[in-house]
């Protein structure tokens, strides 16, 4: 069922009932959910007071409606046919003298009354639905502020810490200091490169001829804190490379691992 079906029926039903009688009911087949609603609408259309409803009369109308629908080759839901059969049975019983019924079967009059009560309850539900729909509804009849001022949320940090973690952090820090003391690493001492360069620059004046670098390197000092012997040679070699780059010195080596010779670069000669 589509939205437009509902709309059509909502708007048209009452007027159509008044004007067209059965045609309106046929049209209504799509919209009605079931026979009870149809019964109620039949009663309304004929202005029958449902409190004084004659089941016989309403049954006649209902059966006529079903017959008409058949005549027009309309497909009827089984609910409609069950109701038709039930109404026919009820009407025939009501017309006949009171038969003797088994104890557990309800009396015809009781069934008719129950039907009336059902119709009244449905009537009530429909009245309530109408009343509800007529109430002022949000965004249909009443509206909220169209330009609300939103609340601005500012987040601040609430710093948290627990004592256990504080103590843990402290113990870890202190334990670290113990380890630092226990495994002290020694700083490896070396003959400073700056000193080697200074010494080499001083020696440069007397270095007209090639000399081995070992002869130029300063002698190692004595003492427990003195740098190791090889560091004098290494630093002097480093300083020699620097001076060579600056064009103040030449280096020469015949082959790999052969003795390394150094001399001051003669003023007239360009770099090799």
């Amino acid at each position: 069922m589509t939205e437009s079906d509902h709309d059509t029926i909502d708007v048209d039903l009452a007027a159509a009932e008044e004007a067209e009688g059965r045609d309106a009911l046929l049209l209504a087949l799509d919209a009605f959910e079931g026979p009870l609603a149809l019964l109620l609408d039949l009663a309304r259309a004929k202005k029958i007071d449902i409190a004084k409803l004659s089941v016989a009369e309403i049954a006649d109308q209902y059966l006529a409606f079903i017959a008409d629908a058949h005549a027009q080759n309309m497909e009827l839901a089984s609910d409609y046919l069950v109701m038709a059969a039930w109404l026919a049975l009820l009407k025939s019983r009501l017309l006949l003298p009171k038969p003797h019924l088994p104890e557990d079967e309800p009396d015809q009059q009781q069934l008719a009354d129950a039907l009336k009560l059902k119709l009244m309850r449905l009537e009530l539900a429909r009245a309530a639905a109408k009343r509800l729909d007529a109430m002022p509804q949000l965004n249909r009849d009443v509206f909220l502020n169209g330009m609300p001022r939103p609340t601005v949320l500012t987040k601040t940090a609430a710093w948290t810490a627990e004592l256990y973690h504080l103590l843990g952090a402290y113990c870890a820090e202190r334990a670290k200091s113990v380890r630092r003391r226990a495994y002290r690493t020694f700083a490896r001492r070396a003959f400073p490169l700056e000193s080697a360069r200074r010494k080499l620059e001083q020696a440069l004046v007397n270095l007209r001829d090639w000399q081995t670098i070992n002869a130029v390197a300063p002698a190692s000092e004595a003492g427990p804190d003195a740098p190791p012997v090889e560091s004098y040679l290494a630093s002097t070699f480093g300083a020699a490379l620097e001076l060579a780059r600056e064009g103040k010195m030449d280096l020469r080596q015949a082959e790999a691992f052969a003795p390394l010779f150094v001399r001051a670069r003669p003023a007239s000669e360009p770099a090799p």
Partner: protein, 243 residues
């Protein structure tokens, strides 16, 4: 004190309330500051607020009921009104001015008639089972109506009937109350209102008992347990009964 079975706290609260009422203190005009603040929050904020949420915003020592009553009175008859709906307070345009917005607002989808009737039955007869709704409406329920109402959030499963099969019972939500501007279920129009509006045949009314729905669990109803209200579950359950 010894004979009473009430929890001592509730008892103390009642005594304090009584004391206030007697001393006339609660009838005192609320402070202008509190009224202004509540007005700004409700009017400019645009969100419905519960009295409790408002009280929290306004701080202690504010008689929130008096503030709300004062504001409601101030706006009575104006183009904007203060109402309580579904447990929360809100400012809204006056209902009689709906026509002013006809052009600017998209017309909301109208609920199909069958769904509206189903909603009315649930609203008035809650807690009510699916079978009971069918009994009252005289037709087997098409699944669409219930699903639509659940989807909009106007109805909810609220418990189970203590009968064989333990069927789900349905009721309305706060969103339903908010939609129709009802402070509570007690405010649903009763028999007299329906009669007065010509919606109910007087004789039919006399013969019928219009139920007064309640939010409290019925005597034969088990409230749903937490975790029991998975929407998927209800969808499945509804399917079983569907055509």
């Amino acid at each position: 004190m010894s004979a009473e079975k009430e929890p001592p706290l509730a008892d103390a609260m009642r005594r304090i309330e009584d004391a206030f009422r007697e001393s006339g203190e609660r009838a005192r005009e609320p402070s202008a500051d509190a009224v202004r603040a509540a007005e700004a929050l409700l009017f400019a904020g645009g969100e419905p607020l519960t009295a409790k949420a408002l009280a929290e915003k306004l701080g202690p020592g504010v008689d929130i009921a008096a503030v709300l009553m004062k504001l409601k009175g101030d706006y009575a008859g104006r183009g904007v009104q203060l109402i309580e709906a579904g447990g929360a307070w809100r400012f809204q345009s006056a209902p009689d001015l709906a026509g002013l917005f006809a052009e600017t607002r998209a017309i909301p989808r109208k609920l199909p008639k069958a769904a509206m009737e189903t909603l009315a039955v649930i609203a008035y007869h809650q807690p009510v089972t699916r079978a009971e709704i069918e009994e009252i409406r005289g037709v087997s329920l098409s699944r669409g109506s219930m699903e639509l109402l659940l989807e909009i959030g106007w109805i909810r499963p609220r418990g189970r009937r203590r009968t064989p099969g333990r069927p789900l019972t349905f009721g309305t939500t706060d969103a339903f109350l908010g939609q129709f501007g009802l402070p509570s279920l007690e405010a649903l129009p009763g028999k007299d209102d329906l009669k007065a509006l010509g919606l109910l045949d007087p004789r039919a009314a006399a013969a019928l008992e219009i139920p007064r729905p309640g939010a409290e669990p019925a005597s034969d109803e088990e409230p749903l347990e937490i975790g029991d209200d998975n929407p998927e579950f209800f969808r499945d359950h509804l399917d079983e009964h569907g055509e």
